[in-house]
Structures are given as structure tokens and as C-alpha cells.
Amino acid sequence: MLARKTKKNRIYSKDDRLIDFLAYFIGAVVIFVTLYPLIFVVSASFSDPVEVISGHVVLWPVSFSLEGYEKILNYTLIWTGYRNTILYALFGTLLNLCFTLPAAYALSRRDLVGRNIIMAYFAVTMFFSGGLIPTYLVMKSIHLVNNPLIMVLLGAVSVWNTVIARTFFQNNIPMELQEAAYIDGASTTRLFFRIVLPLSKPIIAVLALFCAVGHWNSYFNGLIYLSDIKYYPLQIFLRNILILDQMENMMGDPDSVENLLRQMQLKESMKFGIVVVSSVPVLIMYPFLQKYFVKGMMVGAIKG
């Protein structure tokens, strides 16, 4: 790109080389600062918990041990959470695409009457909300409380995504192409499905990724709207294990000495493994998708 072009007629100056060096150096720092914590966690997950607590793990595993992972495998709730999250992410993303893309396309058409009103209707929801209790009451009245469907439905449309998609359509699907389709006698629906969508792979990838990641990482909705454990998403179990201290329970019941101690030890050795297990799928997936969505992001986000 820029680099290649200028290679031919370069004027090497001092500040050029300085900036080159700085750029490479900062790039290296970025890589280190970003990757190190992640590598550490992976290493710690494969190490003996005692070594971790005493601080002997720095970069590579110490006293290689699969104990943590063994316990994770046995902790069935993690797998329930996993399964649920995968299902929610899958269906939630599909639903999101089905709702958002058509709406965004409609909004991208300048000949849509009432375009601004509709856009405002969408945008207002970004700033105002009824609050948690009223939303809960509404959810309850439509029987969505403690219903796994709610995890799929909530977030089916986000204004942000709609705007990005709309911008993409506006900038990337030439008006002439659409007009030509009309002249050929196509209906709007056909135009959308046969012509616009195939051209929109980048933005579909972007939306899909945003949505999937959003579902993967969400815990608040599950916490509020779901009561039955069997519906809980992964992050809730993570929160219990990683963040919450079980100490409160301990103070009440002297009968439970051994039990709670065991649980504490369990938690400690599972922590890192759990972080790995819950983040790895996403982290592995995204570099592969990135060539699609970086392009999409680029175009969609400029006028954002």
C-alpha cells in the first residue's frame, strides 16, 4: 500500500528511520502487553495450583498438571453453561441477522418515506429505557421470564449494528445496480436477497461476530431473567467461581468444614482452566474471521 509505493522513490531521512524504529518497537510492546496475560493464564492453567499461588509461574507452566482441567471436566455445570451459551449465541446471532439486515437495508434507501422518523424511533432507545423493574414486568407479562427464549430475543436488534449495516449498504451497494434490478422487473425482496445480500458478506460477518461475542460474554441478562440453573449461560457460572468469594457461606455452619475447604481448593485450581476454557473458542475463532470483518468494519465504521 503506502509502504510499497514509497519504496521506489524514498528519501531516507533521519526521522524516517526513527519513526520506523518507533513503530516497530511500539508494535512489539503492544504484542507483548496484549499476549503476555493470556499466555500466563494458559500456563497457569496447566500448572500445579500450589506453584501458582506461591508465584512461581511466570511464563511457562511449572509442575505440569492437568488437575485443574480434570476438575473442570467433572464440574457438570460448566458444560451446561457451555451448551446453553453456544445455543444462545447461535440462535441469537441468526435472529439478529434476520432482524437487523432487512431493517438496515430499508433505512439505507433514500426513497423510503419517513426514513428520519423511523431512524429517530430507533435512536431514542439508545438513551432512554424504562429501567430494570418495568422491563422485567413487561417480560413477565409476555411469559419470557425464566424462558430460554429471552436470551435469544434480547439483543435481537441493536441500534449500533443497524447504523453500521445501514452505512455499509449506503456506501457499497451502488444505486445503479439496484435500479437495474428494478428495470429488469425484480421486486424489492428479490433485489435484497439475490443481489444485496451476496454483496454484503463483509458486513454480515461483522454483525455476526459482534452478536456472537456479545452473547458469549453476557451474564447480566441471564442473572436477571433466568431462574432455572439448567438455562444459565456460561458466564454466570464463571462469575460464581472466579469472582464471588464463598466465605460468606462458611461463617454459618461449622458442620460443613471439610466440605467448604474442599470447595475452596477446587475453585483455586479450576480458576485458570476455566478462563481458558471459556475464552479460547472465541480467541481462536476470530483471527480466521478477521479478514472478513476488518474490511466490513472499515467501510461501515467510517461514517458510523
Partner: protein
């Protein structure tokens, strides 16, 4: 003078009613002797089961699930037993205990709530939802249908007082605990062996303790050649209050940690004191600050997670710990070297006082019925059954050996003549770390029950470490001078309104406490500002309210 007469009258009244009961002795009810101390004498309490003749009764319940509970209660032993004994089926909604509070408030707000709750309801919930009628007033039902409950109320009128609102309504039931060990709060545990090894004496005052701490910090208490590997004092500051109780008591103050996380309420000679602004509290802060700045109180108390603290405690590097000595007990070798800290005095106060928990109650909020319940009479009878000895055993001890399979508790009569007995526990040792874990796997372990000598003997017999804990705790003689700092009172609606700012005061006190101790705030310099800030938040009104509530409670 009037109070004394009143007290006398009360005692007389109790005597009379007890005598009456002893004479009456309706079928099955006999006086509580440490609650069925002799197994051979039969069990205490009336049973009104089964509750339905035809089809089983279904009720719904929302229950906070702890990590030891199974994923579903539908098929566990307890549910099956409930069906068998009472012909009742509970439709459980299990909510993770960490999110139970939110969930409960949401379902109550949305009108989506279950028939009963068996755990997780707090006093403040009662105050909010009772008067609205969402929580059913149990008092009339108890009067008519719950003989065991009535009897327990007669024996422990304090409890009835604390459960009742000024208009006589009762919205929740508690579980009773009449084992002496649990009538007062614990004190910290310390490594007695080290003290003796270093040639020092068991401490009697705070200053003695300080000297010992210094010796531990600087010397080689565990005689392993290293002077730096002993941690003088480590515990979870957020959760464990034992050490605080010890220091406060040494300065003449007692108070229990309340729902808002602060130790504040103390009625001394009939007058209510707000502990966090007293001189004795300032002394406590000063002492703690001294310990902190001199490297005795470990900074980890404020930051380290429960597991980290536990790891250190387990490896026996810590001289003094607070909170029930789990970590120590887990170490199979040296835990017996620890002992509970004896009562300490200070130069400011030699008075022997110690916080007692509300006697006879282990926890509140163990049975609440909502207006959605279609079988109020049956449910009250069920809870009443759980108060009986057989029922309590079902709730707490689990199943009897031989009833279902090879696991359970077993009574073994050791002496036919005297009726002496001992107990034995059988459980799945491969998959569970202890009897409690195994029990928790097949029963909710919560609800109304009476934990008496008998039941505790069965439980403790299974766990010799628990026995040790009982012995060391009782061994400090605190039962002789324990007092209840402030009884469980109920507030009128007006008073509840005034109390709304209490949350802010509590948060302020909490955060300032940590700051004073760690030195972030200077005690000498900022104490006056601290007190006047609290005054400015409306402390006077709070004090008035609490005093009024106490006076009312006392009069009853």
C-alpha cells in the same frame, strides 16, 4: 423497680406454663430435655402428617442453591421422603445463591413469586412485603394448627418476641439451636504451642497479646530456623469479625455484625449506644492501626481472597486466625496445637462481656408463606412437623442408616441399662469429602428445625474435629458472661422510613474503618470529622428509633 417485678412475673409465668404443660402432656409432647437427650425415651413433638389423603399436595418453592446442592431437587432422597411422610410434593425453583437476592426481589416485584420460601428471606423483606399481604401472617395459623411451634414459643419467649411485629403478626419462622456451643460468637484461634514454646504466657490483656505478636513476628516461633515465615495475624477482614469482637470487648463494647455489615448496636444498661462513635471503638481502631503499621496485621486481610488466606492458614504459617478455624482443622497434623483465645481485658476496661447470638436461634428467614399458597394450613402443619424431633432429624441429619441403602446415621446403644448411646455416620466416602457434603447432596438442609443436643451429638460424632471445635469454644468460659448486645427487634413503618439512611451511614462507617486501620485516614486527626459526619447523616434519629424499638421489645 417496675422492670424487676415484670421480670419476676415473667419467670413465674413461665414456671406455671411449664408446669401446666408437664401435667397436660398431650399425646407425644414431653418436656424438652436438651431436646430428646435420651434417644430411648422417644421423640419430642407432635406429627400431623400426612397432610393429604388422596393426591399429593403440590406447592412451589424458590430456593437458593449452594454449590454443594445437586442440580435438581426433584429426585433426591428428601423429596421422596417428603412425599412418603407428608404426601407433599414441592416444585422447586433452584436459583444460584449468588443471584438469589436479585431474583427474589424481582419475582416479588413482578408478582411472580412461589408459594413458600425456605431460605433467603431477610428482616427487611418481611417489613416490605408483610404489611402488603404478600407474606402471610402466620400467627393465627400457629395459634390453631401448630402445637410444636407454640410450645417452642412458650419455652423461648425471646424468640417469639423477635419474630413478632408490634401488631402481633409473624411473617417468618426461624430454626432453633439449643446447643450451648452456638449461643455465642467465636473468638479467634491462636497457636498455643508457639506461645508455650517461646516461653511466654497465655495472654490476658491486649498488651500481653501485643507482646506475643511481636515475639511471633520477630522470632522463630515454629522453631524451623526461619524468623520470617510466621504470619502473626491473618484473616478475611470483610468476613471474619472474631478478632474485632475480642478487641472491642476488651474496651468494653459488644455488638454483632448486622445485615449492613457493621457492628453497631449495643444496649448498655438499657441505653442504646451506636458503637462506631464510641470512645471504645476509637481505642479499637487505634489498637488495630498499631498492629497494621507494625506489620502484625497482614495487609492481605483486606485484599487476599478466601482461598489464598485459607491456603496459608492450612499450611499453619499463621499464628492467629479468625473465623471458624476451618483451615486449621483441615490440616491433619497440627491443628490441635491451636486453641481459642481467652477473654482479654485492656487498660480501659476490665469488664467481662462477650456478644451472645440471639439465644436459641440459628438463623432467621426459614419459612415464609406467600398469599399465593393454596394450602396455608397444610404448610403450617408441615413446618410444625419439622420442629418435632423426627422432623428436625429429617431436615438436618438426613436419612437413617438402613432406610434406603447403606448410608445414613445410626444410633448404637452402648449400655442397655442406662440408655447410653453413641452414633455412627455412614456416607459415600469416595465421592464426598464429608458427611455434610453428602447430606447436602440429597437434602436442602435448610428450613425450620430444632438443633438440639441429640442431633448435634449425631452430627458431631461423625466429625471429631467438630468436637474439638466445640470443646475449645466452650473451654474459654464465655458462656458465663455473654450478653446479647441488641435483641432482634421489629420496627414500625415510620421507624423503617427513618432507617432508610442507615445504609449510607453503614457504608460510611465500613469504609472509614478500613481507612483508619490501614492508616489511610489518621485517627487522631480525623476522628472528630468522622463523628460529626455521621451525626450529620442523621445519627440522632437512628439512635432514637433503635432505642424506642428496644424499649418496646423489653416491655413485651
Amino acid at each position: 423497680m417496675a422492670k424487676k417485678i415484670l421480670a419476676l412475673a415473667l419467670i413465674l409465668g413461665l414456671f406455671c406454663s411449664m408446669a401446666a404443660i408437664a401435667e397436660e402432656n398431650p399425646a407425644g409432647i414431653s418436656p424438652i430435655l436438651g431436646f430428646g437427650g435420651e434417644w430411648a425415651s422417644g421423640s419430642w413433638g407432635v406429627s400431623q402428617l400426612p397432610l393429604s389423603d388422596g393426591d399429593p399436595i403440590h406447592v412451589s418453592c424458590m430456593f437458593p442453591r449452594q454449590s454443594g446442592h445437586p442440580e435438581s431437587f426433584d429426585d433426591i432422597w428428601w423429596s421422596k421422603e417428603l412425599l412418603k411422610r407428608a404426601n407433599v410434593v414441592i416444585d422447586w425453583t433452584l436459583v444460584e445463591s449468588s443471584g438469589f437476592e436479585e431474583k427474589k426481589n424481582l419475582v416479588l416485584a413482578a408478582g411472580d413469586y412461589p408459594d413458600i420460601f425456605m431460605d433467603g428471606i431477610k428482616k427487611t423483606d418481611e417489613q416490605t412485603f408483610g404489611p402488603l399481604g404478600i407474606f402471610v401472617n402466620l400467627a393465627p395459623y400457629i395459634e390453631e394448627y401448630a402445637p410444636n411451634t407454640r410450645e417452642l414459643f412458650e419455652r423461648f419467649p425471646d424468640v417469639k418476641k423477635s419474630l413478632s411485629y408490634p401488631d402481633g403478626a409473624i411473617y417468618n419462622l426461624c430454626d432453633f439451636n439449643i446447643t450451648p456451643r452456638d449461643q455465642f460468637v467465636s473468638a479467634p484461634y491462636y497457636n498455643e504451642q508457639w506461645v508455650l514454646d517461646m516461653g511466654l504466657e497465655i495472654p490476658e490483656t491486649l498488651d500481653d497479646l501485643y507482646d506475643i505478636f511481636v515475639a511471633v513476628r520477630d522470632g522463630d516461633a515454629d522453631a524451623d530456623g526461619e524468623t520470617d515465615d510466621e504470619i502473626p495475624l491473618l484473616y478475611s477482614f470483610e468476613n471474619a469479625t472474631d478478632f474485632k469482637y475480642s478487641v472491642l470487648a476488651a474496651y468494653g463494647l459488644i455488638a454483632l455484625k448486622d445485615d449492613y455489615g457493621i457492628t453497631a448496636d449495643y444496649v448498655k444498661d438499657g441505653q442504646y449506644l451506636f458503637v462506631p462513635v464510641q470512645e471504645g471503638y476509637k481505642d479499637y481502631l487505634t489498637y488495630m492501626n498499631k498492629l497494621y503499621t507494625e506489620g502484625i496485621l497482614s495487609p492481605d486481610c483486606f485484599t487476599a481472597s478466601g482461598e489464598q488466606i485459607n491456603a496459608k492458614v492450612q499450611s499453619l504459617d499463621v499464628f492467629m486466625i479468625a473465623g471458624t478455624p476451618y483451615g486449621v482443622m483441615a490440616n491433619d497434623e497440627d491443628w490441635m496445637k491451636y486453641d481459642m483465645l481467652p477473654f482479654l481485658t485492656s487498660e480501659k476496661s476490665g469488664e467481662k462481656i462477650w456478644p451472645g447470638t440471639l439465644r436459641h436461634v440459628r438463623s432467621w428467614g426459614n419459612f415464609v408463606m406467600t398469599d399465593k399458597c393454596q394450602y396455608p394450613v397444610e404448610m403450617v402443619k408441615l413446618q410444625d412437623y419439622f420442629y418435632s424431633e423426627v422432623g428436625s432429624m429429617m431436615v438436618r441429619a438426613g436419612r437413617e442408616y438402613g432406610t434406603y441403602d447403606d448410608y445414613g446415621w445410626e444410633i448404637i446403644i452402648t449400655d442397655e441399662a442406662t440408655g447410653e448411646w453413641t452414633s455412627k455416620i455412614h456416607y459415600d466416602t469416595e465421592n464426598f469429602s464429608g458427611y455434610y457434603a453428602w447430606r447436602q447432596h440429597n437434602a436442602p438442609l435448610q428450613g425450620t428445625y430444632v438443633a438440639g443436643e441429640f442431633q448435634n451429638k449425631v452430627m458431631i460424632a461423625s466429625d471429631y474435629k467438630n468436637n474439638w471445635y466445640s470443646e475449645t469454644k466452650m473451654g474459654t468460659g464465655r458462656t458465663d458472661f455473654m450478653q446479647i448486645p441488641y435483641p432482634e427487634v421489629t420496627f414500625t413503618e415510620e421507624e423503617q422510613d427513618t432507617l432508610m439512611v442507615y445504609v449510607d451511614i453503614a457504608n460510611y462507617v465500613k469504609s472509614m474503618e478500613a481507612k483508619f486501620i490501614t492508616g489511610d485516614a489518621d485517627i487522631e486527626g480525623e476522628w472528630d470529622t468522622y463523628v460529626s459526619t455521621i451525626d450529620g447523616m442523621g445519627l440522632e434519629d437512628i439512635i432514637a428509633v433503635k432505642q424506642a424499638a428496644y424499649d418496646r421489645w423489653n416491655l413485651n
